[in-house]
């Protein structure tokens, strides 16, 4: 596809991507769906990273969701796109921090937001955490639980 990813404008007609726009579907290492064969798996040419979703696929799905009238689902896919490259242990740490009473005050949450923004370019998710910090403070969710 000569079309630049960033300029893609997808709609309902492009769905499912794997069938309607297979050329746009690429793994993180640049493989196409057709490359992900059983023979390739047996030959050790496919690893788990090849079977992961990419930020681009999530942004494409966000466009489709928005076209289908589901803006909140689209926003979730956009936040997800920002998390694809965030390591698992970081994800779990932030999740834990968001649970009630884990952080003593909002600084820890704000710090996590800053990390997401600076290290992973996860600006939507950082906004999300900052919003949480404000509300947790107002509602006393930083109180000790166990």
């Amino acid at each position: 596809m000569s079309q630049d990813d960033a300029e893609r404008s997808l709609g309902i007609a492009d769905y499912p991507l794997a069938e309607k726009q297979p050329n746009w579907v690429r793994t993180a290492s640049g493989k196409s769906l057709d490359d992900l064969t059983l023979a390739a798996v047996e030959a050790g040419e496919v690893n788990l990273t090849d079977l992961r979703i990419t930020p681009q696929a999530l942004r494409d799905q966000a466009q489709i969701a928005r076209a289908a009238g589901r803006p909140t689902l689209a926003s979730n896919f956009e936040r997800a796109a920002e998390l694809v490259d965030v390591p698992q242990h970081v994800l779990l740490e932030i999740y834990e921090l968001l649970r009630p009473g884990r952080a003593r005050d909002k600084t820890a949450l704000l710090a996590a937001a800053a990390t997401l923004r600076s290290q992973y370019g996860a600006s939507h998710m950082a906004d999300f955490l900052e919003e949480a910090a404000e509300v947790y403070e107002r509602r006393g969710l930083f109180s000790y639980r166990f």
């Binding site: 309902i12 769905y15 499912p16 991507l17 794997a18 069938e19 793994t27 769906l33 992900l36 059983l38 798996v41 047996e42 496919v46 788990l48 090849d50 079977l51 992961r52 979703i53 990419t54 696929a57 999530l58 494409d60 799905q61 489709i64 969701a65 289908a68 009238g69 589901r70 803006p71 909140t72 689902l73 689209a74 926003s75 979730n76 896919f77 936040r79 997800a80 796109a81 920002e82 998390l83 965030v86 698992q88 994800l91 779990l92 932030i94 999740y95 968001l98 649970r99 009630p100 009473g101 998710m125 999300f128 955490l129 919003e131 949480a132 509300v135 947790y136 509602r139 969710l141 639980r145």
Partner: protein, 764 residues
């Protein structure tokens, strides 16, 4: 009188014994609760449910549902911030609830218009609207508003021992039944990895595309997903009050974060919420079940979840204990789909011990169709269901299949044949054993494998114990075994189809197509609310069974056909031929000696049909009737009627031919009548209408009574005791075939013929 044993025992009772009968019904095991809105026991009208309202000033929300923005709790805030579309809200909130309620059931108002309207409605408004609908309107509106056109279903695959061999076998069977999703969980938490691997392998047997989840602790569930074993998650629970939420150890933001985290790993995710969870957790704020659930659902849409597992779920039994509680479950499901969420409509945790209540509860969802009719039907036996018994379990699977057939309603399932099921089980067990061997996780013996293949449930297996499983599970986790290792192991051991199927499911992640609303895989294609949207707009639109699917639903097990009835009768023919000979003597004469009683037999009696519905050879029945007549000093004469097969007319015609004026009419299926010349056709002396429970002794007594009437006596009628068995259900299909054979042999105006009967051997 002597038969009624209880009447003797209870003659001295001071209670109407019907209440004692009712006490014994399974229904009375259910505990019902009184309405008490102040204490949270209200399905619809909570003591402190707010009035709907939204005040917006300068593009900012000032108050929502009576709460000022400054006082918003976490849920209010999240909904106001992420759910409400202020461009919609002003007009949407201004519409009277009654008008919106009517739009929900109006076929001319498109689904898309209503879905958009919901973006501008507050929780209290959504609740107020759906509360206006009756149960039938709720079901109808649900049918119109649900997201994906094609209905589906989800199964639980678990067992009491966490036995991986059984999980694999049961997963394969669930796939064969047509479940779009299967969900497992464990008795022992550390067995999660073993359960996940076993189900993933089992679900790859037969066909590909069934999505799979392993319900466990959030962090571990995500790790199992990352290793590629699972394809969806639905454990992201939300609650309708702030304190319940905190008590559940989460907040809207922690759950919203998880929603994004799952999507970032290419895993389909839906939230879970259901009526009465706040009540169970002790933080109901005196609000109704429906209002709290409206909050939960707005929250889920706000988070950007594609769907919800909703409709009581674990709270369903408590919700159902309230007046209107089951209607409320329907109402909350309607809000879910109105908010454009995929809905796995509960019908999992069994809400009642009454099979009638269970059947009634499923019906609206079955006939309306649902994205997933059950958010977990137990494909395994009740005691093997590690979640809890579901509304329908392995025991009741065929009841569900028959309900689909009865109503021509697609509940997502298809019958399986017995031989094929056993073959699938063996294949799944062998595939898992191959993976275990290849990855050095275990070597199940032939006995273990055989015991699991044929076992209905884990009580009957001689296989892995929970401790064995813990070691296997720890091994999978510690060694970092992933789905790719399993795919390679399957391929190396010759299970290439299964390897390919498993790879196909994992490959779905790359494009993320199955992250869209209500996505499932059918015939190798992802279908969802995007490319298979519910387009219901009145009769003839929306999901309709095509002829092929209709035939699939009809194809349940053990269906009677005319050919089968005839084959069965042919098998009896030879045996009867050795016992009795009928010789036609010619036209029957009118009136013989006064001690003569005519037995009028039907056209097919002994010529095409050979035994009664109770299974008595007709030779034995004729013998019994004749013996009874002779015992009272009368003489039987056998006459074959050819003009009728109707019992009354057989009997009346026989009576008119008889010298005594008394005749017995009998059909081949065993229905018999005593008649008297001069009576009206349907005003007989005695009738045996319940042929399936009529014994030879009854026929003999019938013969005696015929003779007694001929003597002018008034005998005690022979009563065939019926104990309320649904004989129609058991026999009428057969009766219709048998009777059609009789009527096809009748000929208008044909004369009755005398028949000489010779008993060849003892016919009794």
């Amino acid at each position: 009188m002597s038969e009624n044993i209880r009447s003797k025992t209870y003659h001295g009772a001071n209670r109407w014994q019907r209440f004692a009968d009712w006490d014994e019904r399974p229904l009375r095991l259910d505990k019902f609760a009184a309405e008490d809105p102040e204490n949270g026991f209200a399905a619809f009208n909570g003591a402190r449910d707010p009035r709907p309202g939204l005040v917006v000033e300068g593009g900012r929300i000032v108050s929502m549902d009576g709460t000022a923005a400054a006082d918003f709790d976490v849920i209010d805030h999240f909904i106001a911030q992420h759910h409400l579309d202020l461009a919609q809200a002003e007009t949407a909130m201004a519409l009277p609830s009654e008008q919106i309620a009517r739009m929900l059931v109006d076929v001319s108002v498109p689904r898309a218009e209503l879905a958009k309207l919901a973006h501008g409605l507050t929780p209290a408004k959504l609740a107020e609207v759906v509360a206006q609908l009756s149960s039938i309107e709720l079901a109808f509106a649900f049918s119109k508003m649900r997201t994906r056109k094609t209905p589906g279903n989800q199964a639980h695959v678990t067992n009491a021992k966490d036995d991986p061999l059984q999980l694999a076998a049961d997963a394969a069977v669930a796939v064969a039944f047509g479940f779009d999703e299967i969900e497992t969980t464990m008795r022992v938490a550390r067995n999660a990895w073993s359960n996940a691997l076993a189900c993933a392998v089992g679900a790859a047997v037969g066909r590909w595309g069934t999505l799979f989840q392993c319900s466990s602790e959030e962090a571990e569930e995500l790790q199992i997903g990352l290793a590629g074993f699972t394809s969806y998650a639905e454990t992201v629970s939300v609650y309708g009050t702030e304190r319940a939420f905190a008590d559940g150890d989460d907040t809207p933001w922690s759950k919203g974060f998880l929603a994004a985290a799952y999507a970032s790993r290419g895993i389909k995710m839906r939230c879970t919420s259901g009526a009465a969870s706040e009540l169970l957790m002790g933080f109901h704020e005196s609000k109704s079940l429906l209002y709290l659930e409206a909050r939960c659902l707005c929250l889920q849409r706000a988070m950007g979840a594609q769907g919800t597992q909703n409709g009581g779920i674990d709270g369903a039994p408590l919700a159902a204990s309230l007046p209107g509680g089951v209607r409320e479950l329907m109402a909350e499901n309607l809000i879910a789909v109105w908010l454009d969420l995929e809905c796995a409509t509960g019908n999992d945790a069994r809400h009642s011990e009454s099979e009638i209540r269970v059947g009634a509860k499923i019906l609206p969802f079955l006939i309306a169709g649902s994205d997933l009719v059950c958010s977990g039907m137990g494909s395994i036996l009740k005691y093997d269901n590690s979640f809890n018994p579901s509304s329908f379990n392995g025991e009741e699977m065929e009841d569900f299949l028959v309900l689909q057939r009865d109503f021509e309603a697609d509940g997502g399932l298809t019958s399986i044949d017995e031989a094929g099921a056993l073959e699938l089980r063996r294949r799944a067990i062998d595939a898992l054993a191959a993976v275990f061997a290849e990855l050095e996780l275990g070597e199940p013996t032939a006995l273990m494998k055989q015991s699991v293949a044929v076992a209905s449930g884990s009580d009957d297996t001689d296989s892995y114990t929970p401790r064995d499983v813990a070691l296997i599970s720890d091994g999978i986790k510690a060694r970092g075994i992933t789905v790719l290792d399993v795919i390679k192991a399957l391929a190396r051991r010759g299970f290439r189809d299964e390897a390919q199927n498993l790879l196909n499911v994992v490959r779905l992640r790359v494009s993320g197509d199955y992250l869209q609303t209500a996505a499932v895989v059918r015939d190798g294609h992802v279908i969802s609310a995007v490319n298979d949207p519910n387009d219901y707009g009145g009769p003839g639109t929306g999901y309709r069974l095509n002829e092929a699917r209709r035939k699939e639903l009809a194809a349940i097990r053990n269906v009677l056909t005319r050919g089968e009835v005839l084959r069965t009768e042919a098998a009896y023919a030879a045996a009867e031929g050795r016992r009795i000979a009928y010789k036609t003597l010619g036209p029957a004469a009118q009136g013989g000696p006064p001690d003569e009683i005519v037995i009028g037999i039907s056209p097919a009696f002994g010529t095409k049909l050979y035994q009664t519905l109770a299974g008595h050879p007709l030779s034995a029945v004729l013998h019994a009737l004749s013996e009874g007549i002779r015992a009272k000093g009368f003489v039987p004469r056998i006459v074959r009627m050819r003009h009728t097969a109707d019992t009354s007319f057989l009997g009346l015609s026989a009576a008119r031919l008889a010298g005594s004026g008394i005749g017995i009419g009998i059909q081949a299926k065993g229905t018999a009548v005593i008649h008297q010349a001069g009576r009206l056709p349907h005003h007989n002396l005695e009738l045996f209408s319940n042929a399936p429970i009529t014994t030879l002794a009854h026929y003999r007594a019938f013969g005696e009574n015929a003779a007694a009437y001929a003597r002018g006596e008034m005998p005690q009628p022979v009563v065939v005791p019926t104990r309320g068995v649904a004989l129609g259900a058991r026999y009428h299909a057969q009766v219709a075939f048998l009777y059609a054979i009789e009527t096809s042999m009748t000929e208008d105006g044909a004369q009755p013929e005398d028949v000489e009967v010779t008993e060849l051997e003892a016919a009794r």
